[in-house]
């Protein structure tokens, strides 16, 4: 008898063993009288020719059984036969906005939110300015999902993926079961465009709090060399934020200057100068060909033109795409996003709506916070048949949170149209685009 066994026997600690084949548990305390093992028979004392009473495998196919840790308890159990109500896919700003709008108009309509994350509420635009402001994952989280769900009387299903839709049965299939709805609202957002040259295992994409929190941890211990790939709005904002927090930032882009796809040359040059004053090194006209992990934990970036950059952290800011799978699964019209009616925000299927980052209006996605509240209000009124004037889309004013060169852009600039310089001095640059006698776009830096 081994020392451990002797000790166990002395203390009458009974152990359990799991049949790897069928899952039967042999409990030493209970034995298995049906197959001739008296209660108290130690596993070691079971004859070698003994067979699992269920499936017949031998003792050697048993392993010590240690109960697994129970999975985290969902914030609320799924009610399979709950009265169908409004089911919302996504618990970002858009998802919660719909839940709030429906609840404000109807105290009794059942609402369920299905989300692949934890459902905590935070302000996504803040992620690109959080570091310099000394924010932490905890301080960015405004309210826990369970708390807001309790406050609104909403059932919140966290860590649950929406995988399919049966339009005829009005059912949403999820990884936690199938849920009936009277109305379905898609608010699942968009996700970072994945590029083979920027593997997700090596490159951060800051599109939600969980990713930001992961990056936050890696930035916690001292100055890092950071490469940001993509000098669009998010890339420029992150570059400034990281630089202000003391990191050494290199900003890479295909274009000749930051934001060159959006702004005319004099404006983007000001942005570049502003970032440069903070220590951000901009490298334009490069295409990243690949990123590999270095032996020292660093990352090695190569470009199509043969340049190389060695950094500690790579951040991809190469734009967002809306995943089409769920919409296609349900046969919903999809064009750069879930296609919705611009007035009612209904999708091509009855009883299914969409809003926020996942939609497209006339083939154009619109990924800004500002219109979401109005979209949510429209959807809530349409669902509850309360009558409404309809959603009317207006291009939101773009405000770039780069303090080094704050950009404000109104209207929709036409990439081919020329810009008139209204003011250009040491403190400001103001430019406008006109079509005929109509002002179509105005920017200031």
């Amino acid at each position: 008898m081994s020392a451990a066994l002797a000790e166990a026997a002395a203390a009458e600690i009974w152990r359990k063993f799991l049949c790897r084949a069928c899952g039967l548990i042999y409990d030493e305390e209970l034995g298995d009288p049906d197959s001739g093992l008296a209660p108290g028979t130690r596993f070691e004392d079971i004859p070698d020719d003994w067979e699992c009473p269920i499936c017949g495998v031998k003792k050697t196919d048993f392993e010590p059984y240690n109960a697994r840790e129970a999975p985290p308890v969902l914030s609320l159990p799924v009610l399979r036969h709950a009265k169908p109500g409004v089911v919302v896919v996504g618990a970002g700003v858009a998802g919660w906005a719909v839940a709030e709008a429906v609840r404000a108009l109807s105290p009794s309509t059942p609402i369920m939110l299905v989300t692949g994350c934890t459902g905590e509420v935070y302000n996504k635009p803040e992620l690109s300015v959080a570091l310099a402001r000394g924010r932490t994952p905890a301080s960015l989280c405004r309210e826990a999902g369970a708390a807001i769900a309790g406050r609104l009387g909403v059932r919140l299903l966290t860590d649950t993926i929406a995988v399919g839709i049966s339009k005829a049965r009005r059912e949403l299939r999820t990884t936690r079961g199938t849920i009936a709805y009277s109305h379905l609202v898609l608010a699942h957002g968009a996700r970072p465009a994945s590029l083979p040259s920027l593997p997700a295992s090596l490159c951060w994409s800051i599109n939600h709090l969980a990713a930001w929190s992961g990056l936050y941890k890696q930035l916690a211990d001292g100055t890092k060399r950071i490469a940001i790939v993509g000098a669009g709005m998010v890339g420029c904002e992150l570059a400034e934020d990281f630089a202000r927090a003391g990191h050494r930032v290199t900003l890479l882009d295909r274009e000749v200057a930051p934001l060159a796809g959006l702004l005319p040359e004099p404006a983007s040059a000001r942005v570049e100068r502003g970032l440069g004053a903070l220590g951000v090194r901009f490298v334009g006209q490069v295409m990243v060909a690949g990123v590999v992990a270095g032996a020292d934990g660093g990352k090695h970036i190569t470009t199509a033109c043969g340049q190389a950059f060695d950094v500690d952290i790579v951040v991809a800011a190469t734009g967002l795409v809306t995943e089409s799978r769920l919409a296609r699964n349900a046969g919903l019209a999809f064009n750069q996003g879930v296609a919705v009616d611009p007035v009612t925000l209904r999708t091509s299927a009855s009883h299914i709506y969409a809003l926020g980052d996942c939609i497209s209006l006339g083939g154009r996605p619109c990924r800004f916070i500002e219109p979401i509240a109005k979209q949510a209000e429209t959807i809530a009124r349409d669902i509850l048949e309360l009558g409404h004037d309809g959603y009317s889309h207006a291009q939101p004013v773009i405000r770039l949170k780069t303090k080094s060169a704050p950009v404000m852009l109104q209207g929709v600039p036409h990439p081919e149209a020329s810009w008139r310089t209204i003011r250009d001095d040491a403190t400001a640059l103001v430019m406008e685009q006109w079509r005929g006698d109509q002002l179509t776009s105005r920017l200031s830096v």
Partner: protein, 380 residues
């Protein structure tokens, strides 16, 4: 496409779509219907039915050498499962074993061996339930292998493997151990149920009798290189996973369609009261058509390895299982006491639909896998 599968079968082996379905339907509605109680109650293993289905092409048309018509294969399985779920399951087991052989690119497995298998002149199934769960991280791998000259030596026990018996074979997976007992990789091989293999009778199941299901125990079983399907196994398993799972939907569609048949059968007598039930036949019919349309579209590209494709397959498989459960339940409610008789089809289909829901990958396993596939990867 492998070299072997590029070699097309001779013209006399080509099966025409319409005649495959016509013959399978005739077999299902004739001899299979006559044998179904014997299969379900007495555990009769319908070799003769499988032979006829093989001759008709039902067990070969999904293979690339016979045109890679996975949709036709699913439709054939549906036609048989509509009458007998056990037979549908045997067809699936046989079909995936054919895929292992063909995808092996092993000359010893892809010639006459594959042709005989495709025509069901020889019978063989699959022992991948445990490996599929093991590779998903749900449970440990039960077969363990050690490298020896000329092949591997395998030990371990599997509690239940179907569509096997003395003289038959199945695809199986073993984890290869290094000298220190750690696992280096896995192998997929053809396991011959000869005198070296101990086959043990299984306890009685609630349904799916007649599927020749045995416990398998291997003691120092030698796998020669001629019987290796894939070494390492994971790339091949990843390649065929979509087809493996999608084919199972044939069982779900068939059990559901048989359930609709049972509802319609009593409509003349019971329609006046059955109208108060939910899950009425028109509703079920609509869902059957919608789901089978999606499955047939997915069957066009069974080796599309993309994440989205796999999610669509897993979702269709879950929906099929849930649909079969609901349809079978509804058929029993529609038939009332008739359906509650031990020999009635609705009563049997309740048990068959339970099987569709729990056979690997079970509903819970499918959802686990969809959640895993959907998780966004973040840098370490």
């Amino acid at each position: 496409m492998t070299v072997a599968s590029a070699l097309q079968a001779p013209p006399e082996h080509q099966w025409d779509d319409a005649s495959v379905i016509e013959q399978v339907t005739a077999i299902a509605q004739g001899p299979l219907r006559a044998a179904v109680t014997q299969i379900d109650h007495d555990g009769h293993y319908p070799r003769e039915i499988m032979a006829a289905l093989g001759e008709a092409g039902a067990l070969g048309v999904h293979l690339n050498r016979y045109g890679g018509k996975l949709g036709l294969s699913i439709a054939a399985m549906q036609a048989a499962s509509r009458v007998c779920g056990s037979t549908g399951f045997l067809m699936w087991s046989h079909d995936v074993c054919g895929i292992y052989l063909e995808q092996s690119a092993n000359p010893a497995l892809t010639g006459a061996v594959l042709d005989n298998h495709a025509r069901a002149k020889t019978l063989g199934g699959t022992a991948l339930s445990n490996p599929m769960k093991a590779l998903s991280g749900i449970e440990p791998m039960l077969f363990r292998a050690r490298k020896v000259p000329g092949g591997y030596r395998v030990n371990g026990s599997l509690p239940w493997v179907s569509h096997i018996g003395p003289g038959q074979y199945c695809g199986a997976v073993a984890a290869v151990e290094r000298d220190d007992g750690t696992v280096s990789h896995e192998i997929l091989f053809i396991l011959h149920c000869d005198e070296r293999v101990e086959l043990r009778a299984c306890p009685q199941f609630s349904g799916m009798e007649g599927t020749a299901t045995w416990g398998v125990r291997l003691v120092d079983y030698f796998v020669s290189e001629a019987d290796l399907v894939a070494d390492p196994a994971r790339p091949l398993i990843a390649r065929i996973r979509g087809a493996f799972i999608l084919l199972q939907t044939g069982m779900a569609l068939g059990v559901a369609q048989g359930s609709i048949d049972s509802i319609l059968e009593v409509e003349p007598m019971l329609g006046h009261v059955n109208q108060f039930l939910s899950e009425r036949p028109d509703e079920l019919r609509g869902e059957l058509d919608e789901l089978s349309g999606r499955i047939m579209a997915l069957a066009q590209t069974p080796y599309d390895g993309s994440r989205d494709y796999l999610l669509d397959v897993l979702d269709a498989r879950v929906q099929g299982a849930e649909f079969a459960l609901r349809a079978a339940q509804s058929a029993l409610l529609h038939q009332g006491a008739r359906g509650y008789l031990m020999t009635s089809a609705p009563q049997r289909r309740i048990r068959e639909s339970h099987f569709v829901a729990i056979v690997t990958p079970a509903i819970k396993h499918l959802r686990w896998e969809m959640a895993r596939l959907s998780r966004e990867e973040l840098p370490a």
